[in-house]
Symmetry: C2
Subunit: 219 residues, 2 copies
Amino acid sequence: MSNQTDPFKAGPSAAYPPPVDRLLNELAKLPGIGRRSAERLAFHVLKSAPADAAALAESIRDVKKLVRHCGICFNFTDSEVCSICADPRRDASTVLVVEQPRDLIAIESTGMYRGVYHVLMGRLSPLDGVGPDDLTIGDLMARIGDSSRNARSVEVAEVVLGMNPTLEGDGTALHLAEALASTSVKVSRLARGLPSGGQLDLASKAVLADAIEGRRSVG
Amino acid sequence: MSNQTDPFKAGPSAAYPPPVDRLLNELAKLPGIGRRSAERLAFHVLKSAPADAAALAESIRDVKKLVRHCGICFNFTDSEVCSICADPRRDASTVLVVEQPRDLIAIESTGMYRGVYHVLMGRLSPLDGVGPDDLTIGDLMARIGDSSRNARSVEVAEVVLGMNPTLEGDGTALHLAEALASTSVKVSRLARGLPSGGQLDLASKAVLADAIEGRRSVG
């Protein structure tokens, strides 16, 4: 022990240096990142090579500077119109409506769809105060009524509803189906049933009900 | 349907614009952040106010530019020596050794310790290839042997081992205790026992064993 005050008695307490605190606060604002995760990420940044940290900071700045929404379908793009709407190989008369850009990417990854999209930028959620005017539903209706507002000015013939198979997704699909009923476009929705690769005995009642209701004749 | 090719047949598939992809890749390099979390974070950045995204990018850059390790104890600091080592109110003769800066912050948050610290920057982990030379053990021994290398040139009288109560933490403490045995400093370790606020019937056998072994007489 020293001849100073007892080192195990309460005294002034120190914290992180201000730049670390600022980073912690910024990281903790991100969704799903609590104080502990923010610390883990901040320590990673502190330990990482300067070039790696610079690349991360740069990519955050760039994404805000360079990325916007497609003027037609609201997909992310770094130009006026996204690569899908601009692609002459895509069938612009078929519009698949999704909630989020990530849903679009999921469908693209199958390579099974050659039409175009419309991204709602959310789903109707009365409890969260998200109404029709908060989504891009008006823009979708405009694409149907005025072909000059659709990709490559092609007239819309079919709208495929591709919302998530959830309560809110279904509610949004219902709202869109009603709005589209007054137009001449064909309206369809993605199939429901057993998820490929899953196990029947682990499927929920709702999934099994969909699978039975949507059964197809074979042979 | 259009008079183009069937929109539901396989064709070219689109992905995120390059700046979004770059951000996803950078985020996915962070610990505990998988592809899905990276998408969630990237979409948050895309939706957030430009000023918020700029603040995040800035704080990452600043932390790398401004923060370094204390020349004495390896705590994070934005100057040569950390605020604890430089504080004349702290008892520099008592050195509490911890694995990581976050452990130091945890102890500081109690306000119960007025000594100084030494941050090992990890723990011995033979399986992960972390040996004594990968930690700041040599610097700790130098602080003990040469008071000019300790905070405010005060001689070290006591070392408190504050490793995590884990297998690797205990192994590190054992190694340090052996290294310190050849010096004249007093060596102690943090107490083990029941965690305050916990429930005895939920405590593990190891915790109960520590609590029994370390019992104190009362009255």
